[in-house]
């Protein structure tokens, strides 16, 4: 038994780190260090820099422009981004949509979308959730009715992260309301957000920032060649999309970054440092759990039920760290910026908004309660 990285893995880590140091715009880096969010232009510039190196699409196969990495390299790459910290390539594009287009898309769709998706010439957003379909995603009601060469789409999507930056949206829509099983009446559709009938309304989250949106679709005519997979087989595509990059959900490097900020803030405070140590101890073990799963993936790449453990514990620790940072700052964390949260320029000012909005991490991507039910059903056979 050996947990140490191989010499090749250590050299790869070094190579990734050197590249990020050399190529990441210092202004973007400064923002990330302070817990601020990069703007659209900064995210695009960074993704294009990664794409020029062939690294924007870590999980894509080589023949579609991916770097040909295995699960261990992918995890190292992401960890270096998180610890740097640097923006991740937009996950809607590269972790979610890209892999399912490669698997389920037509040749025409691949030719049309994969390149621009990797280079962030098209920014995608995820149009799954609806007011009546949250954890219970199969309750989606947005209707798509075939009419000649188009689908006519009408419905109400909610929680679209970064839709105000996005050019296109991938959606789950109902094409057969009469199907015996709810899941069997759904289709996976790509929608150009510039089409007539699309309205995007901002939702401001408790950090005061604009990250999520509602998207209203009012008889939007979507060309039928934007259907991915067969009509009424959208659930299959969606399940594949939601299971992508399962092992990278622990976000350990991000939590380490928050811990570094806590240590700067709490220097000399034994009580706070003891709390940080308690989080660090658990985080160290989660790192081992992730290595164990990666080790198993090298032998077989089926879905690992332990990935629910990574999500649950990873989120728990990240939330705990973000909370401890606020505690370390104390009441001074309440000081806001008159220009709004996006204008905050000091590292202390971002702690409270970031803590607040990080509560969402146990709600999206499979809420913690839902993860526990999955674990109980699958692993325990309860």
């Amino acid at each position: 038994m050996d947990l140490r990285p191989t010499p090749e893995e250590a050299a790869f880590r070094r190579e990734v780190r050197d590249f990020i140091r050399a190529e990441l715009d210092p202004a973007t880096h400064r923002k990330m260090l302070d817990g601020r969010l990069p703007n659209r232009d900064e995210v695009v510039a960074w993704q294009r820099a990664l794409n020029a190196r062939g690294w924007a699409t870590p999980a894509w196969p080589r023949e579609h422009g991916g770097p040909g990495w295995g699960p261990v390299e992918r995890a190292i790459f992401l960890d270096e981004l998180h610890q740097a910290p640097a923006p991740e390539p937009v996950s809607f594009n590269v972790a979610m949509l890209g892999p399912v287009l490669i698997r389920y898309g037509t040749e025409a769709q691949k030719n049309r979308f994969l390149g621009p998706t990797a280079n962030l010439d098209i920014w995608w957003c995820q149009g799954f959730s609806e007011p009546g379909a949250g954890s219970d995603l199969a309750a989606v009601r947005t209707r798509a009715v075939r009419d000649g060469d188009d689908y006519v789409v009408t419905g109400h999507k909610i929680w679209q992260g970064m839709a105000h930056h996005a050019d296109w949206m991938f959606t789950l829509v109902r094409t057969d309301p009469t199907a015996a099983k709810r899941q069997a009446g759904l289709s996976f559709l790509l929608i150009d957000l510039r089409l007539p009938g699309v309205t995007i309304r901002p939702i401001i989250t408790i950090d005061g920032r604009h990250e999520v949106n509602e998207v209203f679709l009012d008889e939007v005519r979507v060309p039928a060649d934007c259907l991915v997979g067969a009509e009424n087989d959208g659930w299959t595509v969606t399940k594949a999309l939601l299971s992508s990059e399962r092992t990278n959900i622990a976000r350990i490097g991000m939590t380490k970054h928050i811990l570094r900020r806590i240590k700067t803030q709490a220097a000399g405070d034994a009580g706070l440092l003891a709390k940080a140590a308690a989080i660090e101890a658990e985080l160290r073990m989660l790192e081992v759990t992730q290595l164990r799963i990666l080790d198993a993936q090298r032998r077989s790449d089926g879905a690992d039920p332990r990935s629910s453990v990574l999500k649950l514990k990873g989120v728990e620790l990240r939330q705990a760290a973000s909370e401890l940072l606020v505690q370390a700052i104390g009441p001074a964390a309440l000081r806001a910026d008159p220009e709004g949260p996006e204008a905050i320029e000091d590292a202390q000012g971002t702690a409270l908004p970031n803590y607040a909005v990080l509560r969402a991490a146990s709600i999206y991507g499979g809420a913690s309660e839902v993860q526990k039910t999955i674990l109980a059903k699958n692993v325990l056979g309860l």
């Binding site: 740097a84 570094r260 240590k263 101890a281 073990m285 990666l294 332990r306 514990k313 109980a376 692993v379």
Partner: protein, 360 residues
């Protein structure tokens, strides 16, 4: 990274698991707890006969030279099957100490330890040492009331003393969960030196690390045992006309236990893989982190396992209560509070400096 066991380790695991399953279990654990020593002579002799007492003894000393993987195999099986044997206290701690002794002493004393014919226990204290004549008070836990020979850590050196030596007296007291602890008084007792100076300091750290790694593995085994019993119970116990397992509140509790057990397994693996970690501070950080997590997860699993069993969980007649007690004992021995202080005192794993500066 490679987390597979090699062929020899796989064979050892099969053998140890089978032995622990056949020999351990609730009834033999309860019977052993009622004896003076607190362990099953039958099981201990069985382990000696199979050569299992020698697994962690170095090869030059005549053992099998086992490392972290072997230690984990033994700890996990012993915890899982409530096997009542003094494996940690005698085979690992005393066996490791005696392996470091000069050849003649080592050959004689270690031989009697490995074949199960003599009972050893480790005691520590602030003991004055006048050229091998020891005076002061020491204490130790499991097995100290019935030991026939003591390994004494004086704080500066390690000595072997006979329990019947003139000038040695002990006050034994029973331990919760079986066995006896003892306060040992040494009044001008002659000891045979095992190690002193730098060698003693090195040995003390080796004992610390092996102890943490074994207890983490034993905690993992006990937590798995408690969890499996709980999961079976949830599926079979019927209340309000349906199995307990059909209640989502209890499903989620079981899922939470599972998450903590995965963390505990990672802790046991990390400790096992870090016994040879060359950087002393890093090894100390790891052992502290392992202790913190083993204590926390062990307590959670133990408490929830009892809770979900209802009344039967708090009886001495059901295994779950014994896993609870053992996890509680391990929690006290690993001392999460001081481990947290240690890890914080060493600066934890990440520094205040930004990543690129710290990792440069």
């Amino acid at each position: 990274m490679n987390l597979e066991l090699d062929d020899d380790q796989r064979l050892l695991k099969e053998m140890v698991d089978r032995f622990a399953e056949d020999t351990g279990g609730l009834d033999s654990h309860r019977a052993a707890a009622r004896t003076a020593a607190g362990w099953s002579e039958n099981a201990w002799q069985g382990m000696a006969d199979l050569g299992l007492t020698a697994v962690m003894v170095s090869e030059p000393a005549g053992g099998l030279g086992g490392g972290g993987a072997e230690l984990m195999i033994l700890g996990e099986a012993i915890g899982r099957h409530l096997l009542a044997v003094p494996y940690l206290d005698t085979a690992i701690l005393c066996g490791t100490a005696l392996s470091a002794a000069p050849a003649p002493l080592r050959e004689r004393a270690l031989g009697e330890l490995l074949d199960g014919s003599r009972r050893y226990a480790l005691v520590t204290g602030a003991i004055s040492d006048d050229e091998g004549t020891l005076t002061g008070k020491a204490h130790g836990f499991f097995g100290c009331g019935t030991a026939e020979a003591f390994i004494v850590d004086t704080g500066h050196a390690f000595y072997l003393v006979d329990a019947g030596a003139p000038g040695l007296s002990r006050a034994a007291r029973p331990l919760h969960g079986g066995g006896t602890a003892a306060d040992v008084r040494l009044d001008g007792v002659r000891g045979e030196q095992i190690a002193a100076g730098d060698e003693a300091a090195r040995l003390r750290l080796e004992l610390r690390d092996r102890r943490v790694a074994f207890l983490a593995a034993e905690a993992l085994g006990a937590a798995e045992g408690a969890f499996e019993a709980t999961s079976d119970y949830l599926k079979t116990r019927v209340q309000f006309g349906k199995p307990l397992a059909s209640n989502q509140a209890l499903q989620h509790r079981a899922a939470e236990m599972l998450v903590e057990i995965e963390q505990l397994r990672s802790a046991a693996i990390l400790a096992a893989c870090s016994l040879e970690e060359p950087v002393a501070d890093e090894r100390e950080r790891i052992m502290a982190a392992v202790s913190i997590v083993a204590v926390k997860t062990g307590r959670f699993v133990a408490q929830q396992a009892v809770q979900l069993h209802g009344g039967i969980g708090v009886t001495e007649e059901h295994a779950v209560g014994h896993w609870f007690l053992r996890l509680t004992a391990i929690g006290l021995l690993l001392d999460g509070v001081s481990a947290t202080r240690t890890l914080a005192g060493l600066g934890g794993f990440v520094a205040a400096a930004p990543y690129w500066e710290a990792a440069a």
